[in-house]
């Protein structure tokens, strides 16, 4: 088991390294000159060159990469070109905000999605299954700016139950914050529910159809116990992997939702940094998301190996 996790951990490190390379060098290919962008079209060319030199962007790429990644590893994410202050001061609170929203969305969508999938599988091809499967799929294919706006219209404007703005007043307690987060979180739930439910449903159907389920039923076990002890555990293994792969979306893919609900998360930070060619900010954000993603995947692997004895022993893939 430890060998399996060590391998996975090493693999995450390699992935993150490659990601850092991609992020860094792609940033260099984007059109535009950093100094020019910051100083504007009317600025003197000499001033632009001087700024570029001051920022260090006229050095060879590899040197720039080293100068960026080495402090980064030690916790220094560099200076924002635009704000002229440490990137970390922006990234850390934004990440906190995003994580908060993601956590609310995650805690809503995972139980709902799994429950939906399980119920659909137990009523396979019956009306309830069709409603869940079709409804979930329809919601998934809707872009967030559509589903978000629909939610805002219904709950924020017509019913007036929920605030349409996710930015809570200063000093708000956790419950108040939660109240403000429901609507954006619901948008995320709509986007992911169908996906998770679909996986859970497929896993359930396969497990229900398996020989070991037949064994359990023919033992005379009550149906509830069959499902609970024998089916669920095997059925939900693949779903766990899917959920892990979606945590990346929950953290990094919030751009539209955060913009729509005017929420100061990492998604809007990335968007603004990309617009302004604020490389240190952009790179830090992407890498932070990458790390979060890697940690989430690692946690999912840990959970998976805990639930699946064949991996625990290190003799299965």
């Amino acid at each position: 088991m430890n060998r399996f996790l060590a391998r996975r951990f090493a693999f995450s490190l390699v992935t993150l390294f490659v990601l850092s390379l991609i992020v860094f060098f792609l940033g260099q290919i984007l059109p535009g000159n950093v100094g020019r962008t910051i100083l504007g079209p009317l600025a003197d060319q000499q001033a632009v060159d001087a700024l570029n030199h001051q920022l260090g962007v006229d050095r060879p790429l590899l040197v720039q990469y080293g100068a960026w990644i080495w402090p980064f590893l030690q916790g220094d994410m560099g200076q924002s070109y635009i704000y002229r202050s440490p990137v970390a001061a922006f990234v850390v609170p934004a990440l906190g905000h995003s994580l908060k929203l993601a956590a609310v969305g995650f805690l809503l969508v995972v139980p709902l999605g799994i429950l939906g999938g399980v119920v659909a599988a137990l009523k396979v091809n019956r009306p309830l299954d069709r409603v869940i499967s079709l409804g979930g799929l329809s919601a998934t294919v809707l872009p967030e700016f559509v589903s978000g706006i629909v939610l805002i219209l219904i709950f924020g404007i017509w019913l007036r139950w929920l605030p349409i703005d996710a930015a809570w007043p200063d000093g708000a307690g956790p419950l108040i914050q939660l109240y403000y987060l429901v609507l954006p979180a619901m948008t995320l739930v709509l986007g992911l529910f169908g996906y998770i439910a679909r996986m859970a449903r497929a896993g359930m159907i396969e497990a229900l159809d398996s020989d070991y389920t037949r064994t359990a039923v023919l033992k005379g076990l009550p149906w509830r116990l069959v499902i609970w002890r024998h089916v669920l555990r095997n059925a939900l293994l693949p779903t766990i992997t899917v959920i892990a792969s979606q945590t990346g979306y929950l953290i990094g893919g919030l751009l539209v939702v955060e913009t729509l609900f005017r929420y100061q998360g990492i998604g809007s930070l990335i968007f603004n940094a990309a617009k302004a060619k604020d490389f240190p900010m952009l790179q830090a954000c992407v890498l932070i998301i990458g790390i979060t993603y890697a940690v989430a995947t690692l946690l999912a692997d840990l959970l998976y190996s805990f639930l699946n004895p064949r991996i625990q022993m290190g003799d299965g893939q």
């Binding site: 020989d211 037949r214 359990a216 023919l218 033992k219 005379g220 076990l221 699946n308 064949r310 299965g316």
Partner: protein
């Protein structure tokens, strides 16, 4: 009158598929008395498993009982409420099926799954563990305490099936349903599991419904047997009567498909059954077998025959009196030109080894194998799983590189170890037929494209030449031009295997490796494929390396046989010599493990312990850890060399061949004497005093 354990009364079941109801069981009636073992045989698709699933009320969603009744232990199964059904399943009926690896929950420990069985019937928590342990002991699992703590995938197939049997018998059910319980297990493991079932049945007095496609296993295990065909019971009676003197044309044909009594390819061909099993739900006004029966006339096609009592059994045939003279579909006496065996060997393998992994994890899959193959000769490779058969075959094909030092020669010229280093001539000279034609054929290509491509690539044919060769090849494997446009999924298993055979013969190979080519097929189809292989060999003097776990088939097709154990050749010699002995003790055990159709109890040699892992083979002779004829320390210290027992027949054993012969003769005679008097118990021969 005592209530039978199980009674089926005119049971009919439909499956709904493609918007239609298709009858899979029609008016099936039989009874199983208390303590009786009843066998249900027939080819796949006949409805055997449906019978089992109906009895426990576990039909698939699209299955529906359209008529009749099932009475289990006096209770009408169809009328039971949910709780009564659960109780019935918990206490009165159990089921064990094929593939125990899937039947056990992969994510729960064995002990937990076993304990559950006692939980259901309300055994107090404190006693459950002890009862589970006791059950594991009953199914003769070594070290039951540690097995309880393991997960199913950590057990061998044989042990998994023992656990499944332990679960099934834990609450002493009236009825035990066994659906192909040993299919997929190795011969010696199968024999052990069957012995176990026999013993437990005797001890507990459980009634058994035994479902199998393997007639010999049923003959060994069952008192009475029913033959199912297309969802109908066509013949039923005492096992000895049915298999000894069958009266229904289907039973007769089925039995003729099997090589029996040392039948060999050059002496007598196997019979086959023309046509196909009717698809479920096909409208058949008459006898379901009429389309394939040589005796059928208008009456058979229009009127379903009744089950009538004939000669001590029930037969569903209008002409059961004439059935004994049923004409053969394939003439038996077609004299096959004996292939011109001889001359220089086409293949010579010297000191071939294959080691996987490294250092302490090294697994020696094949160890120092040397053999040769003459043109037109068939070498049978026999051995249990893990014996290295498939690795050896793959090395011949160049798919797996052997360890340094071994050589493979084709026609006297060294053959490169890796396929992409072999010349085109060499590639087409060595071809393979796989076990599963489903995965061996590209399912998106038509038959003509599959074979045509092989002819182009291997045979180098183009244009008109190609199409004439294609037609000739298709005819040679007994396919018709009609099949050319079809895709593999539109073909039956037997037809698919013919396509695979045609593919391998496209480049006029010198050697064809047949890796379990018929083990996924029904017996009637298997017979046709074996006949085809024999015919192709006679016509083209091709050599076969024939891998199979079925010794009867190996005997039928092989000229010589090599017996492998943990990657070593333990015995090799002419087919008849290997079957008659003297034998290596492992071969002896293997041969005695095979049940035969006469239903006589085998004088079986029980092997102790599990097949060792190739990663950690025993010291000295690889077989010493299980050998019933082990003579002492020498077996643990040195590995015996292959010594010649008689010309061309080599055995790897410390016991001289003459002594082996005497011991084995005495053992057989002794077993016969015991059999005459009483039942045979475990016979472990202690030969140590001889040395």
């Amino acid at each position: 009158m005592v209530e039978p354990a199980l009674r089926l009364d005119r049971l009919s079941v439909d499956y709904r598929a493609g918007g239609r109801n298709r009858a899979v069981l029609r008016d099936v009636s039989f009874e199983i008395a208390r303590g009786e073992a009843y066998g249900l045989v027939g080819e796949s698709g006949c409805g055997k498993s449906t019978v089992a699933l109906t009895v426990v009320r576990y039909l698939p969603r699209n299955g529906r009982i359209t008529g009749g009744a099932v009475t289990l232990d006096g209770a009408d199964v169809m009328r039971l409420g949910p709780q009564a059904l659960k109780d019935l399943r918990a206490k009165d009926v159990s089921m064990v099926y094929q593939d125990p690896g899937k039947a056990l929950n992969p994510s729960l420990k064995v002990g937990r799954q076993l304990v559950e069985v006692f939980e259901v019937v309300g055994v107090p928590l404190a006693e459950r563990e002890a009862r589970a342990l006791e059950m594991l002991k009953k199914v003769r699992i070594a070290d039951p305490g540690s097995v309880m703590q393991r997960y199913p995938h950590q057990l061998s197939g044989g042990m998994q099936q023992r656990v499944a049997i332990a679960m099934a018998l834990a609450n002493d059910p009236t009825m035990l349903i066994l659906d192909e319980p040993t299919t997929g297990l190795d011969a010696t493991v199968e024999a052990e599991v069957l012995d176990l079932i026999t013993d437990l049945r005797r001890e507990l007095g459980t009634s058994v419904l035994f479902i199998s496609h393997n007639l010999a296993v049923v003959a060994k295990m069952c008192d009475r047997v029913g033959v199912l065909y297309a969802g109908m019971l066509v013949e039923e009676g005492p096992t000895r009567e049915i298999f000894g003197s069958p009266r229904h044309p289907y039973t007769i044909s089925l039995l003729r498909c099997l090589p029996r009594g040392g039948q060999r390819k050059d002496r007598r061909r196997l019979d086959t059954i023309p046509g196909f099993l009717p698809t479920a739900g096909m409208l058949m006004p008459g006898c379901p077998f009429a389309e394939r029966c040589a005796l059928a006339d208008n009456l058979c096609r229009t009127e379903v025959p009744k089950l009538r009592a004939v000669c001590g059994r029930l037969v569903r045939c209008h002409y059961s009196d004439r059935a004994v003279d049923l004409p053969r579909n394939t003439p038996a006496d077609v004299v096959m030109p004996k292939p011109t065996m001889g001359g220089a060997p086409v293949l010579r393998v010297s000191n071939l080894s294959k080691t996987y992994g490294q250092g302490s994890h090294a697994i020696r899959a094949v160890a120092d194998v040397s053999l040769s193959l003459l043109p037109g000769e068939t070498l049978g490779l026999v051995g249990e799983s893990g014996s290295g058969k498939t690795t050896l075959a793959r090395m011949l094909l160049g798919l797996v590189p052997p360890d340094l030092g071994g050589t493979i020669e084709l026609d006297g010229n060294p053959l490169a170890a890796s396929l992409d280093r072999r010349r085109d001539e060499e590639v087409k000279a060595v071809q393979i037929v796989f076990q599963n034609p489903d995965s061996a054929l590209n399912r998106s290509h038509s038959v003509s494209r599959i074979i045509g491509r092989a002819l182009r690539r291997l045979g180098g044919f183009r244009g008109a030449d190609l199409s004439s060769r294609l037609n000739a090849l298709v005819a040679a494997v007994r396919l018709t031009p009609r099949h050319l446009a079809l895709r593999p999924r539109q073909l039956s298993g037997g037809l698919k295997q013919r396509v695979a055979i045609a593919r391998s013969f496209a480049g006029d190979p010198r050697i064809v490796v047949c890796d379990e080519p018929t083990s996924a097929l029904d017996v009637s189809v298997q017979a046709a494929i074996l006949n085809l292989l024999a015919e192709l060999q006679a016509a083209r003097a091709v050599s076969y390396v024939f891998i199979s776990h079925d010794l009867g088939i190996v005997r039928y097709l092989s000229d010589r046989i090599a017996v492998l154990y943990l990657g070593r050749i333990m015995e090799m010699g002419p087919s008849e010599r290997v079957f008659e002995g003297p034998n290596h003790p492992y071969t002896e055990a293997l041969l005695s493990a095979v049940p035969n159709l006469d239903g006589t109890r085998n004088t079986r040699i029980r092997l102790s312990g599990e097949i060792p892992s190739a990663a950690n083979p025993p010291s000295g002779c690889p077989f010493q850890s299980r050998c019933p004829r082990k003579i002492g320390a020498i077996c643990e210290i040195s590995e015996p060399p292959l010594t010649e027992a008689e010309p061309g027949h080599v055995i790897r054993c410390h016991i001289p061949a003459a002594d082996l012969e005497r011991l084995q003769r005495e053992y057989k005679a002794g077993a016969r004497n015991v059999e005459a008097g009483q039942e045979i118990e475990t016979a472990v021969i202690d030969a140590s005093h001889q040395y």
